[in-house]
Symmetry: C2
Subunit: 405 residues, 2 copies
């Protein structure tokens, strides 16, 4: 008799048939005697059509009113899910985020959870009900409706699991779990039985978009062990948890490819203190997220010069160029080169901490595949390289073959 | 600088263009310096498609969950209306029924308003905002979301007008106001400048479906003067208020036709005490609403017998027949005759209290039009007759011509 928090995303509740299928799964757990809290997202498409309505009225609608509007999507799903459970003879009660006691700050459209007072949830569980909670939403202490931003329903589930001290948190999605690589690129990619929070975080931020980083960070912070699994079958998924000694036996947990990066190179930048700070402060001020930064050693003797390369999201490239161009006179670099045809390939694994020669093995695999490396960046559990986009998928296969199979 | 409560129904907010048009009207009042509370319904079609989703899952969904589901319709409209006002530079804040302080009992899908604590509404008005309130919904003292049933948004507006002591309450709809008869039946029907609550109540219950009776009753109870007018033009509408001396000068305020009635006649019912009670208690027990009842004088000498006729809604006819048939042995009537081809024609006017000969004039008009009268029923301010459905529209024109023009 475990207390289980389950979360079903938009595609898992896309229509009434899918909702009935979610209810059947929940009912099975309930019949086994488990106590269940079920977090659901808006039916896929609902949020987008609400956003479309708002944009028909105003291009930049108020964030407070967008929260008021979008919170209705999840509210509809919780009611429909409860109705589906009743149809199976399972007692169930739906709760909005506010009713479930999810209190957030007042930053509309991307609120942070302050605390959870799950009194109503406990009372309903004690009464034998399945409790259906609207994901993605909460309420400020003043009673204003808020939403948690992208990936918010995952966050609701993990935060509830923490607050309820749940035995298990299951994130149901449309994939079977976390893979060693994107199975569409690497046919022999393997589903992982388990993965460490830090590995999951690196993969999340690297374009293996199973979950948003913030939900994983939250889970890590509160020690919530969760499972990513499919709502379309009964296969076990991937358990995400704190790293253990045994995890370190595997050097590379996964290979990720991010095609959404662009590279900017400033050529012949005067190599004097404060220059890099000036450039990256300006980019930060324009809310441009800079990912990798590489500065080569200085060359030239009279007035030493260097090249600085960095990557930004493709969507930010034009804006970043504008910022850089505006600095040309002041900083005095010779030229700026932009390249959108790049991919960022990364290998991730907590085992890297205790294994040597990982980078060498990766670079060798790339060289053998004829892939040239543009930029390199490493962390304790990750090695990332920027490469030519045209060779990127072949590169993923080569690196996967070298480390995983 | 008046405090005005405006209510816009589903067709007035049917799409984003209509919502923008509502916003333009509200903005005009706001620029004039009025303080505005705007109650809106769900966009037309939204509630129906939500009901359809629920019925796809279960034929008889839980009423608590239906409230959770349907309350989202109005919540979407308030957000979109606020966004539309912002686009016109008008400060506006949306509030759910709960946020607006509308506290109801716990009877889901047809909750009654217990009280309104319009603290948030007052605060926002004082801060210079237009306040947009979700119609049709409230919250119990325990925080459960409830809806008020059919016509609930009108009720929200009138209850808010009472609680706020508003100077004016405007019910915007898709008709210009209350007419002396249905203009589709009677081309020279006239829009009324004013009408008494009691007249409006009789007309509401008689099939002139501008508003539900309960909203008018609520307005009468709390003395809320309101105006029914069109959201499609700027014509003044019809003011609904307590009757005044001047109103009594007009004998007949309106002529209404209800085609939704069916007549049942029990032939040769033993005329002894308790028989009528037995019949109508059984019908009441089956939740069948009986409208007119006519019992003729007794005939026969040995065992006196009478005929009893009554009307029910067409939708209830089959159920009513079943109840009656089940009583046949016990009550001992000879036969039962059902007639669906009837219409109920009524004239309404507070002036009837002080005028004589009204019934005679009505019956004469019907006779001249060749219309036979099946049943007659009168109240202080109303005379209703049941007639052949085939002649009913001609009858409306004849009676309208006799009294109004």
């Amino acid at each position: 008799m475990a207390l289980i928090v389950q979360k079903y995303g938009g595609t898992s509740v896309a229509n009434t048939e899918r909702i009935k299928s979610v209810a059947r799964r929940v009912a099975e757990y309930h019949r086994r005697g488990d106590r269940l809290v079920v977090v659901v997202s808006a039916m896929s498409g609902v949020t987008d059509s609400l956003i479309k309505l708002a944009k028909e009225i105003a291009p930049l609608p108020s964030e407070r009113e967008m929260d008021m509007l979008l919170a209705t999507g999840e509210q509809q799903t919780i009611a429909l899910t409860a109705i589906a459970l009743h149809a199976l003879g399972v007692p169930a009660v739906s709760l909005t985020g506010a009713q479930a006691g999810i209190v957030t700050d007042g930053v509309h459209t991307k609120a942070k959870i302050h605390n959870i007072t799950p009194r109503a949830v406990h009372a309903l569980l004690d009464a034998g009900s399945v409790v259906i909670v609207a994901g993605f939403q909460g309420e400020t202490a003043e009673g204003e409706i808020t939403t948690l931003g992208r990936g918010g329903s995952d966050l609701t589930a993990i935060a509830l699991a923490a607050a309820l001290k749940a035995d298990l948190c299951q994130i149901y999605t449309d994939v079977d779990g976390v893979y060693t690589a994107d199975p569409r690129l690497v046919p022999n990619a393997q589903k992982l039985d388990q993965i460490a929070y830090d590995e999951m975080l690196e993969l999340a931020s690297l374009g293996a978009k199973v979950m948003q980083s913030r939900s994983v960070e939250f889970a890590k912070k509160f020690g919530v062990v969760f499972e990513v699994r499919s709502s379309l079958n009964d296969n076990p998924g991937t358990i995400v948890k704190e790293e253990t000694k045994s995890m370190e036996g595997i050097v590379v947990r996964g290979v990720a490819l991010d095609k959404n990066q662009a590279k900017l190179t400033l050529v012949a930048v005067p190599d004097r203190p404060g220059v890099a700070a000036r450039i990256f402060k300006a980019l930060g001020g324009a809310a441009i997220n800079v990912d990798m930064i590489v500065q080569n050693v200085s060359h030239g003797t009279d007035t030493p010069q260097t090249d600085i390369s960095f990557t930004v999201e493709k969507a930010d490239l034009a804006k970043a160029r504008k910022v850089i161009d505006s600095l040309k006179a002041e900083v005095g670099f010779r030229d700026v080169i932009a390249n959108e045809a790049v991919g960022k390939l990364s290998i991730v694994g907590v085992g890297m901490k205790s294994h040597t020669g990982v980078a060498g093995k990766m670079f060798e695999a790339l060289a053998r595949a004829g892939v040239n490396i543009d930029m390199i960046s490493t962390s304790e559990i990750k090695i990332s390289v920027v490469i030519d986009l045209a060779r990127a998928e072949a590169a993923v296969r080569a690196v996967h073959a070298a480390f995983i199979g």
